[in-house]
Protein backbone atom coordinates (compact mmCIF):
# COMPACT_ATOMS: atom_id res chain seq x y z
CA UNK A 1 0.00 0.00 0.00
CA UNK A 2 2.73 2.42 1.08
CA UNK A 3 4.82 1.47 -1.93
CA UNK A 4 1.96 2.19 -4.31
CA UNK A 5 1.52 5.58 -2.69
CA UNK A 6 5.20 6.41 -3.04
CA UNK A 7 5.22 5.35 -6.68
CA UNK A 8 2.16 7.51 -7.34
CA UNK A 9 3.74 10.53 -5.68
CA UNK A 10 6.98 10.07 -7.61
CA UNK A 11 5.06 9.73 -10.87
CA UNK A 12 3.04 12.83 -10.10
CA UNK A 13 6.22 14.76 -9.31
CA UNK A 14 7.80 13.64 -12.57
CA UNK A 15 4.73 14.72 -14.54
CA UNK A 16 4.63 18.12 -12.83
CA UNK A 17 8.34 18.74 -13.37
CA UNK A 18 8.12 17.69 -17.02
CA UNK A 19 5.09 19.94 -17.50
CA UNK A 20 6.85 22.93 -15.97
CA UNK A 21 9.93 22.32 -18.12
CA UNK A 22 7.77 22.19 -21.23
CA UNK A 23 5.98 25.38 -20.24
CA UNK A 24 9.32 27.09 -19.76
CA UNK A 25 10.57 25.92 -23.15
CA UNK A 26 7.34 27.01 -24.84
CA UNK A 27 7.55 30.48 -23.32
CA UNK A 28 11.20 30.73 -24.31
CA UNK A 29 10.33 29.91 -27.92
CA UNK A 30 7.51 32.43 -27.98
CA UNK A 31 9.80 35.09 -26.58
CA UNK A 32 12.47 34.31 -29.18
CA UNK A 33 9.87 34.49 -31.94
CA UNK A 34 8.55 37.85 -30.75
CA UNK A 35 12.11 39.18 -30.57
CA UNK A 36 12.83 37.98 -34.11
CA UNK A 37 9.65 39.56 -35.49
CA UNK A 38 10.53 42.79 -33.76
CA UNK A 39 14.01 42.64 -35.28
CA UNK A 40 12.38 42.15 -38.67
CA UNK A 41 10.25 45.25 -38.25
CA UNK A 42 13.52 47.07 -37.55
CA UNK A 43 14.71 46.16 -41.04
CA UNK A 44 11.31 46.87 -42.54
CA UNK A 45 11.27 50.44 -41.24
CA UNK A 46 14.61 51.13 -42.90
CA UNK A 47 13.60 49.43 -46.17
CA UNK A 48 10.47 51.61 -46.34
CA UNK A 49 12.54 54.69 -45.62
CA UNK A 50 14.93 53.74 -48.39
CA UNK A 51 12.11 53.12 -50.87
CA UNK A 52 10.50 56.47 -50.01
CA UNK A 53 13.69 58.35 -50.89
CA UNK A 54 13.90 56.87 -54.38
CA UNK A 55 11.20 58.86 -56.31
CA UNK A 56 12.73 62.13 -55.15
CA UNK A 57 16.18 60.93 -56.21
CA UNK A 58 14.97 59.79 -59.62
CA UNK A 59 13.29 63.16 -60.22
CA UNK A 60 16.42 65.07 -59.27
CA UNK A 61 18.68 62.97 -61.48
CA UNK A 62 16.25 63.27 -64.41
CA UNK A 63 16.66 67.04 -64.31
CA UNK A 64 20.37 66.74 -65.15
CA UNK A 65 20.85 63.35 -66.76
CA UNK A 66 17.60 62.55 -68.50
CA UNK A 67 19.13 60.23 -71.07
CA UNK A 68 20.45 57.79 -68.44
CA UNK A 69 17.13 56.05 -69.02
CA UNK A 70 18.26 52.52 -68.33
CA UNK A 71 19.97 53.32 -65.05
CA UNK A 72 16.95 55.22 -63.80
CA UNK A 73 14.57 52.50 -64.87
CA UNK A 74 16.61 49.89 -63.03
CA UNK A 75 16.37 51.92 -59.84
CA UNK A 76 12.62 52.41 -60.23
CA UNK A 77 12.05 48.74 -61.00
CA UNK A 78 14.11 47.60 -58.00
CA UNK A 79 12.13 49.93 -55.78
CA UNK A 80 8.82 48.53 -57.05
CA UNK A 81 10.03 44.99 -56.37
CA UNK A 82 11.11 45.98 -52.89
CA UNK A 83 7.66 47.41 -52.16
CA UNK A 84 5.94 44.23 -53.35
CA UNK A 85 8.32 41.82 -51.65
CA UNK A 86 6.78 39.41 -49.15
CA UNK A 87 9.05 37.86 -46.54
CA UNK A 88 12.69 38.27 -45.66
CA UNK A 89 14.17 36.29 -48.56
CA UNK A 90 12.33 38.25 -51.25
CA UNK A 91 12.88 41.58 -49.56
CA UNK A 92 16.59 40.83 -49.27
CA UNK A 93 16.78 40.01 -52.96
CA UNK A 94 14.94 43.17 -53.99
CA UNK A 95 17.01 45.27 -51.61
CA UNK A 96 20.23 43.88 -53.05
CA UNK A 97 18.99 44.76 -56.53
CA UNK A 98 18.23 48.29 -55.39
CA UNK A 99 21.67 48.57 -53.80
CA UNK A 100 23.37 47.57 -57.03
CA UNK A 101 21.14 49.84 -59.16
CA UNK A 102 21.87 52.78 -56.85
CA UNK A 103 25.59 52.09 -57.02
CA UNK A 104 25.48 52.27 -60.78
CA UNK A 105 23.43 55.46 -60.58
CA UNK A 106 25.92 57.15 -58.28
CA UNK A 107 28.83 55.94 -60.41
CA UNK A 108 27.18 57.40 -63.53
CA UNK A 109 26.41 60.65 -61.71
CA UNK A 110 30.16 61.32 -61.55
CA UNK A 111 29.87 62.35 -65.21
CA UNK A 112 27.46 65.20 -64.43
CA UNK A 113 29.25 67.95 -62.47
CA UNK A 114 26.08 70.03 -62.23
CA UNK A 115 24.21 67.13 -60.68
CA UNK A 116 27.08 66.57 -58.26
CA UNK A 117 26.79 70.20 -57.20
CA UNK A 118 23.04 69.96 -56.56
CA UNK A 119 22.39 70.28 -52.85
CA UNK A 120 19.26 68.18 -52.94
CA UNK A 121 21.16 65.39 -54.69
CA UNK A 122 24.00 65.50 -52.17
CA UNK A 123 21.57 65.43 -49.25
CA UNK A 124 19.75 62.44 -50.76
CA UNK A 125 23.02 60.64 -51.40
CA UNK A 126 24.06 61.14 -47.79
CA UNK A 127 20.72 60.01 -46.44
CA UNK A 128 20.72 56.92 -48.66
CA UNK A 129 24.20 56.05 -47.42
CA UNK A 130 22.93 56.33 -43.84
CA UNK A 131 19.90 54.14 -44.60
CA UNK A 132 22.18 51.56 -46.18
CA UNK A 133 24.30 51.48 -43.03
CA UNK A 134 21.19 51.19 -40.87
CA UNK A 135 19.89 48.34 -43.02
CA UNK A 136 23.23 46.57 -42.64
CA UNK A 137 23.11 46.87 -38.85
CA UNK A 138 19.46 45.94 -38.50
CA UNK A 139 20.08 42.97 -40.79
CA UNK A 140 22.85 41.84 -38.50
CA UNK A 141 20.60 42.08 -35.44
CA UNK A 142 17.75 40.29 -37.23
CA UNK A 143 20.00 37.48 -38.48
CA UNK A 144 21.41 36.92 -35.00
CA UNK A 145 17.85 36.55 -33.68
CA UNK A 146 16.95 34.21 -36.54
CA UNK A 147 20.01 32.09 -35.82
CA UNK A 148 19.06 31.87 -32.16
CA UNK A 149 15.45 30.98 -32.92
CA UNK A 150 16.22 28.48 -35.69
CA UNK A 151 18.76 26.75 -33.48
CA UNK A 152 16.31 26.50 -30.62
CA UNK A 153 13.60 24.86 -32.69
CA UNK A 154 16.05 22.29 -34.01
CA UNK A 155 17.89 21.17 -30.88
CA UNK A 156 16.68 18.63 -28.36
CA UNK A 157 14.58 18.94 -26.20
CA UNK A 158 12.93 22.15 -27.43
CA UNK A 159 12.50 20.58 -30.89
CA UNK A 160 9.66 18.51 -29.38
CA UNK A 161 7.74 21.61 -28.36
CA UNK A 162 8.55 23.31 -31.66
CA UNK A 163 7.10 20.40 -33.62
CA UNK A 164 4.07 20.13 -31.36
CA UNK A 165 3.11 23.77 -31.88
CA UNK A 166 4.35 24.13 -35.47
CA UNK A 167 7.05 26.71 -34.92
CA UNK A 168 8.50 27.51 -38.32
CA UNK A 169 11.97 28.63 -39.25
CA UNK A 170 12.65 32.23 -40.20
CA UNK A 171 14.52 33.13 -43.39
CA UNK A 172 17.82 34.93 -43.01
CA UNK A 173 18.09 38.36 -44.58
CA UNK A 174 21.07 37.60 -46.76
CA UNK A 175 23.00 40.33 -48.49
CA UNK A 176 26.67 39.55 -48.03
CA UNK A 177 27.32 37.47 -51.15
CA UNK A 178 25.33 39.54 -53.63
CA UNK A 179 26.67 42.77 -52.17
CA UNK A 180 30.20 41.57 -52.84
CA UNK A 181 29.36 40.75 -56.44
CA UNK A 182 27.74 44.13 -56.86
CA UNK A 183 30.94 45.87 -55.92
CA UNK A 184 32.63 44.11 -58.82
CA UNK A 185 29.87 45.09 -61.23
CA UNK A 186 30.08 48.75 -60.29
CA UNK A 187 33.87 48.70 -60.66
CA UNK A 188 33.71 47.35 -64.21
CA UNK A 189 31.07 49.96 -65.13
CA UNK A 190 32.71 52.16 -67.80
CA UNK A 191 32.49 55.85 -66.99
Amino acid sequence: MLIVLIVLIVLLAVVIIAGLAMLGMYNGLIRARVRTREAWSGIDVQLKRRASLIPNLVETVKGYAAHEQEVLENVTRARAQLEQAGGAAQAAQADNMLTSALRTLFAVSENYPQLRANENFLALQKELADVEEKIAFSRQFYNRNVMDFNTRIQVFPSVIIANMFNFERFDFFEAEETAREDVQVSFTQPN
Partner: protein, 306 residues
Amino acid sequence: MTLEQPVLIYDRIAGNRRNTFILLTLFVLVLAGLSMAIGIVIGLPIPFAPILIVPFVIFAFISYYSSSRIALGISGAKEVTREQEPELVRKVENLCIGAGLPMPKVYVIEDGSPNAFATGRDPEHASVAVTRGLLDKLEPLELEGVLAHELSHIGNYDIRVMTMVVVLIGLAALMADFMFRLTFFGAGRRSSNRGKGGGGAIAIIFLIAIVGAILAPIAAQAIRFAISRQREYLADASGALLTRHPEGLARALEKMAADPDPLEVANKATAHLYINNPLREHKSWLNNMFTTHPPIEERVKLLRAM
Protein backbone atom coordinates in the same frame (compact mmCIF):
# COMPACT_ATOMS: atom_id res chain seq x y z
CA MET B 1 37.05 38.12 -41.62
CA THR B 2 35.13 37.37 -38.44
CA LEU B 3 32.43 35.67 -40.45
CA GLU B 4 34.63 32.69 -41.14
CA GLN B 5 34.99 31.75 -37.48
CA PRO B 6 32.14 33.27 -35.47
CA VAL B 7 32.20 30.35 -33.07
CA LEU B 8 35.44 31.64 -31.67
CA ILE B 9 33.96 34.96 -30.60
CA TYR B 10 30.79 33.37 -29.23
CA ASP B 11 32.90 30.96 -27.22
CA ARG B 12 34.91 33.77 -25.77
CA ILE B 13 31.80 35.69 -24.74
CA ALA B 14 30.38 32.61 -23.03
CA GLY B 15 33.69 31.98 -21.26
CA ASN B 16 33.91 35.56 -20.01
CA ARG B 17 30.37 35.45 -18.69
CA ARG B 18 31.20 32.33 -16.71
CA ASN B 19 34.35 33.81 -15.24
CA THR B 20 32.52 36.91 -14.18
CA PHE B 21 29.91 34.82 -12.44
CA ILE B 22 32.56 32.94 -10.48
CA LEU B 23 34.31 36.15 -9.48
CA LEU B 24 31.10 37.81 -8.39
CA THR B 25 30.18 34.79 -6.26
CA LEU B 26 33.59 34.92 -4.59
CA PHE B 27 33.03 38.57 -3.93
CA VAL B 28 29.68 38.11 -2.25
CA LEU B 29 31.20 35.38 -0.09
CA VAL B 30 33.94 37.75 1.04
CA LEU B 31 31.34 40.37 1.97
CA ALA B 32 29.16 37.87 3.81
CA GLY B 33 32.23 36.68 5.71
CA LEU B 34 33.06 40.20 6.74
CA SER B 35 29.61 40.99 8.07
CA MET B 36 29.67 37.66 9.89
CA ALA B 37 32.98 38.61 11.50
CA ILE B 38 31.58 41.94 12.64
CA GLY B 39 28.55 40.19 14.02
CA ILE B 40 30.71 37.84 16.07
CA VAL B 41 32.91 40.61 17.38
CA ILE B 42 30.02 42.69 18.65
CA GLY B 43 28.71 39.60 20.35
CA LEU B 44 25.67 38.57 18.29
CA PRO B 45 24.82 34.87 18.44
CA ILE B 46 26.44 33.23 15.42
CA PRO B 47 23.25 32.33 13.45
CA PHE B 48 22.16 35.98 13.55
CA ALA B 49 25.54 37.52 12.80
CA PRO B 50 24.99 37.93 9.01
CA ILE B 51 21.97 40.15 9.70
CA LEU B 52 24.38 43.05 9.86
CA ILE B 53 24.56 43.00 6.10
CA VAL B 54 21.13 44.70 5.94
CA PRO B 55 22.14 48.35 6.67
CA PHE B 56 25.07 47.95 4.35
CA VAL B 57 22.79 46.71 1.58
CA ILE B 58 20.62 49.81 1.99
CA PHE B 59 23.71 51.97 1.68
CA ALA B 60 24.69 49.97 -1.40
CA PHE B 61 21.35 50.60 -3.10
CA ILE B 62 21.63 54.34 -2.66
CA SER B 63 25.13 54.42 -4.16
CA TYR B 64 24.01 52.14 -7.00
CA TYR B 65 21.27 54.49 -8.17
CA SER B 66 23.36 57.66 -8.12
CA SER B 67 26.61 56.21 -9.51
CA SER B 68 26.06 57.13 -13.15
CA ARG B 69 25.30 60.79 -12.38
CA ILE B 70 28.41 60.98 -10.23
CA ALA B 71 30.69 59.41 -12.86
CA LEU B 72 29.50 61.83 -15.58
CA GLY B 73 29.75 64.77 -13.20
CA ILE B 74 33.30 63.99 -12.06
CA SER B 75 34.59 63.67 -15.63
CA GLY B 76 33.00 66.95 -16.76
CA ALA B 77 30.97 65.31 -19.53
CA LYS B 78 28.44 67.46 -21.43
CA GLU B 79 25.46 65.94 -23.21
CA VAL B 80 25.45 66.59 -26.98
CA THR B 81 22.55 66.68 -29.45
CA ARG B 82 22.32 65.39 -33.01
CA GLU B 83 22.79 68.97 -34.28
CA GLN B 84 26.02 69.47 -32.35
CA GLU B 85 27.71 66.14 -33.18
CA PRO B 86 25.81 64.61 -36.13
CA GLU B 87 28.43 61.98 -37.05
CA LEU B 88 28.93 60.76 -33.48
CA VAL B 89 25.20 60.53 -32.75
CA ARG B 90 24.55 58.82 -36.09
CA LYS B 91 27.26 56.21 -35.42
CA VAL B 92 25.89 55.48 -31.95
CA GLU B 93 22.37 55.22 -33.36
CA ASN B 94 23.39 52.77 -36.11
CA LEU B 95 25.42 50.58 -33.77
CA CYS B 96 22.47 50.50 -31.37
CA ILE B 97 20.29 49.20 -34.21
CA GLY B 98 22.83 46.42 -34.74
CA ALA B 99 23.02 45.56 -31.06
CA GLY B 100 19.26 45.87 -30.51
CA LEU B 101 19.75 48.48 -27.80
CA PRO B 102 17.75 51.63 -27.05
CA MET B 103 19.56 54.86 -27.86
CA PRO B 104 21.76 55.95 -24.93
CA LYS B 105 22.52 59.56 -24.05
CA VAL B 106 25.69 60.78 -25.73
CA TYR B 107 28.24 62.92 -23.87
CA VAL B 108 31.45 64.63 -24.90
CA ILE B 109 34.34 65.40 -22.53
CA GLU B 110 36.39 68.39 -23.66
CA ASP B 111 39.81 66.79 -23.25
CA GLY B 112 42.49 66.16 -25.85
CA SER B 113 43.34 62.65 -24.67
CA PRO B 114 41.47 59.99 -26.70
CA ASN B 115 39.31 57.87 -24.39
CA ALA B 116 35.71 56.84 -23.79
CA PHE B 117 33.42 55.24 -21.22
CA ALA B 118 29.86 54.04 -20.78
CA THR B 119 27.75 54.21 -17.64
CA GLY B 120 24.21 53.59 -16.41
CA ARG B 121 22.61 50.74 -14.53
CA ASP B 122 20.77 49.20 -17.50
CA PRO B 123 20.37 49.83 -21.25
CA GLU B 124 17.34 52.10 -20.64
CA HIS B 125 19.40 54.41 -18.42
CA ALA B 126 22.72 54.25 -20.23
CA SER B 127 25.12 56.99 -21.31
CA VAL B 128 28.17 56.92 -23.54
CA ALA B 129 30.87 59.55 -23.07
CA VAL B 130 33.77 60.19 -25.44
CA THR B 131 36.56 62.74 -25.24
CA ARG B 132 37.12 65.45 -27.83
CA GLY B 133 40.52 63.86 -28.48
CA LEU B 134 38.84 60.60 -29.49
CA LEU B 135 36.69 62.38 -32.09
CA ASP B 136 39.66 64.34 -33.44
CA LYS B 137 42.31 61.63 -33.54
CA LEU B 138 40.49 58.49 -34.71
CA GLU B 139 39.41 57.40 -38.19
CA PRO B 140 35.67 56.59 -38.64
CA LEU B 141 36.17 52.80 -38.48
CA GLU B 142 38.32 53.15 -35.36
CA LEU B 143 35.73 55.37 -33.70
CA GLU B 144 33.07 52.82 -34.62
CA GLY B 145 35.16 50.10 -32.93
CA VAL B 146 35.42 52.12 -29.72
CA LEU B 147 31.71 52.96 -29.69
CA ALA B 148 30.83 49.30 -30.31
CA HIS B 149 33.04 48.36 -27.34
CA GLU B 150 31.20 50.86 -25.13
CA LEU B 151 27.77 49.75 -26.33
CA SER B 152 28.78 46.15 -25.61
CA HIS B 153 29.46 47.17 -22.02
CA ILE B 154 25.86 48.38 -21.96
CA GLY B 155 24.44 45.32 -23.74
CA ASN B 156 26.30 42.85 -21.53
CA TYR B 157 25.14 44.67 -18.39
CA ASP B 158 28.80 45.22 -17.58
CA ILE B 159 28.12 48.59 -16.11
CA ARG B 160 25.60 47.12 -13.73
CA VAL B 161 28.13 44.52 -12.60
CA MET B 162 30.93 47.04 -12.34
CA THR B 163 28.77 49.52 -10.44
CA MET B 164 27.73 46.77 -8.09
CA VAL B 165 31.34 45.75 -7.60
CA VAL B 166 32.48 49.30 -6.92
CA VAL B 167 29.67 49.78 -4.43
CA LEU B 168 30.55 46.48 -2.76
CA ILE B 169 34.21 47.52 -2.52
CA GLY B 170 33.12 50.72 -0.81
CA LEU B 171 31.08 48.56 1.56
CA ALA B 172 33.96 46.22 2.32
CA ALA B 173 36.15 49.19 3.22
CA LEU B 174 33.39 50.66 5.36
CA MET B 175 32.84 47.39 7.18
CA ALA B 176 36.54 46.85 7.78
CA ASP B 177 36.72 50.30 9.30
CA PHE B 178 33.68 49.59 11.48
CA MET B 179 35.28 46.37 12.58
CA PHE B 180 38.50 47.98 13.75
CA ARG B 181 36.67 50.49 15.87
CA LEU B 182 34.60 47.75 17.46
CA THR B 183 37.48 45.42 18.24
CA PHE B 184 39.58 48.13 19.82
CA PHE B 185 37.00 50.11 21.74
CA GLY B 186 33.79 48.19 22.19
CA ALA B 187 34.00 44.45 22.16
CA GLY B 188 37.32 44.21 24.00
CA ARG B 189 35.72 45.40 27.19
CA ARG B 190 32.87 42.96 26.90
CA SER B 191 35.09 39.93 26.43
CA SER B 192 37.09 40.69 29.58
CA ASN B 193 33.88 40.44 31.59
CA ARG B 194 33.32 36.87 30.55
CA GLY B 195 34.45 33.73 32.30
CA LYS B 196 37.98 32.45 31.90
CA GLY B 197 36.90 29.27 30.07
CA GLY B 198 35.70 31.04 26.92
CA GLY B 199 38.63 33.43 26.81
CA GLY B 200 40.83 31.35 24.53
CA ALA B 201 38.12 30.65 21.97
CA ILE B 202 37.07 34.28 21.88
CA ALA B 203 40.65 35.40 21.40
CA ILE B 204 40.92 33.07 18.40
CA ILE B 205 37.67 34.41 16.91
CA PHE B 206 39.01 37.92 17.39
CA LEU B 207 42.20 37.01 15.67
CA ILE B 208 40.31 35.54 12.72
CA ALA B 209 38.02 38.56 12.58
CA ILE B 210 40.93 40.99 12.58
CA VAL B 211 42.86 39.07 9.94
CA GLY B 212 39.65 38.89 7.90
CA ALA B 213 39.08 42.60 8.27
CA ILE B 214 42.57 43.33 6.99
CA LEU B 215 42.53 40.83 4.14
CA ALA B 216 38.95 41.28 2.92
CA PRO B 217 39.28 44.77 1.44
CA ILE B 218 42.52 43.75 -0.28
CA ALA B 219 40.94 40.61 -1.69
CA ALA B 220 37.88 42.61 -2.68
CA GLN B 221 40.05 45.09 -4.52
CA ALA B 222 41.93 42.36 -6.39
CA ILE B 223 38.66 40.69 -7.37
CA ARG B 224 37.29 44.01 -8.56
CA PHE B 225 40.24 44.49 -10.87
CA ALA B 226 39.99 40.94 -12.16
CA ILE B 227 36.29 41.45 -12.97
CA SER B 228 37.09 44.73 -14.65
CA ARG B 229 39.74 43.09 -16.85
CA GLN B 230 37.42 40.24 -17.82
CA ARG B 231 34.80 42.80 -18.78
CA GLU B 232 37.22 44.63 -21.03
CA TYR B 233 38.07 41.44 -22.94
CA LEU B 234 34.38 40.59 -23.22
CA ALA B 235 33.46 44.05 -24.50
CA ASP B 236 36.30 43.85 -27.04
CA ALA B 237 34.97 40.52 -28.28
CA SER B 238 31.31 41.53 -28.50
CA GLY B 239 32.21 44.92 -29.95
CA ALA B 240 34.10 43.14 -32.72
CA LEU B 241 31.08 40.92 -33.28
CA LEU B 242 28.93 44.02 -33.73
CA THR B 243 31.13 45.88 -36.21
CA ARG B 244 32.45 42.71 -37.87
CA HIS B 245 35.71 44.60 -38.01
CA PRO B 246 38.04 43.80 -35.08
CA GLU B 247 40.88 45.63 -36.80
CA GLY B 248 39.16 49.01 -36.26
CA LEU B 249 39.14 48.60 -32.49
CA ALA B 250 42.66 47.12 -32.50
CA ARG B 251 44.01 50.17 -34.29
CA ALA B 252 42.04 52.52 -32.04
CA LEU B 253 43.50 50.86 -28.95
CA GLU B 254 47.02 51.19 -30.33
CA LYS B 255 46.44 54.87 -31.03
CA MET B 256 45.05 55.46 -27.55
CA ALA B 257 47.98 53.65 -25.93
CA ALA B 258 50.50 55.63 -27.96
CA ASP B 259 48.86 58.99 -27.21
CA PRO B 260 51.05 61.19 -24.99
CA ASP B 261 48.24 63.38 -23.59
CA PRO B 262 47.09 62.33 -20.12
CA LEU B 263 43.38 62.43 -19.39
CA GLU B 264 43.15 65.14 -16.77
CA VAL B 265 39.63 64.44 -15.59
CA ALA B 266 40.27 60.79 -14.70
CA ASN B 267 41.27 59.52 -11.29
CA LYS B 268 41.57 56.23 -9.43
CA ALA B 269 37.83 56.17 -8.76
CA THR B 270 36.75 56.45 -12.39
CA ALA B 271 39.72 54.79 -14.16
CA HIS B 272 38.01 51.40 -14.41
CA LEU B 273 35.21 52.93 -16.49
CA TYR B 274 37.34 53.97 -19.44
CA ILE B 275 38.10 51.83 -22.50
CA ASN B 276 41.81 52.49 -22.13
CA ASN B 277 43.38 52.95 -18.69
CA PRO B 278 43.68 56.74 -18.40
CA LEU B 279 46.30 56.52 -15.62
CA ARG B 280 49.93 55.96 -16.51
CA GLU B 281 51.21 53.14 -14.34
CA HIS B 282 54.50 51.26 -14.13
CA LYS B 283 54.49 47.57 -14.93
CA SER B 284 55.13 44.89 -12.32
CA TRP B 285 53.57 41.69 -11.15
CA LEU B 286 51.95 43.41 -8.17
CA ASN B 287 50.67 46.29 -10.22
CA ASN B 288 49.26 43.84 -12.76
CA MET B 289 47.13 42.35 -10.03
CA PHE B 290 45.76 45.75 -9.12
CA THR B 291 45.25 47.26 -12.55
CA THR B 292 41.75 47.69 -13.96
CA HIS B 293 42.67 47.06 -17.60
CA PRO B 294 44.42 44.18 -19.35
CA PRO B 295 47.57 45.20 -21.20
CA ILE B 296 46.77 46.83 -24.55
CA GLU B 297 49.17 44.54 -26.42
CA GLU B 298 47.25 41.54 -25.15
CA ARG B 299 43.88 43.01 -26.22
CA VAL B 300 45.20 43.95 -29.65
CA LYS B 301 46.66 40.48 -30.09
CA LEU B 302 43.31 38.85 -29.26
CA LEU B 303 41.41 41.18 -31.57
CA ARG B 304 43.77 40.43 -34.44
CA ALA B 305 43.32 36.69 -33.81
CA MET B 306 39.52 36.88 -34.25
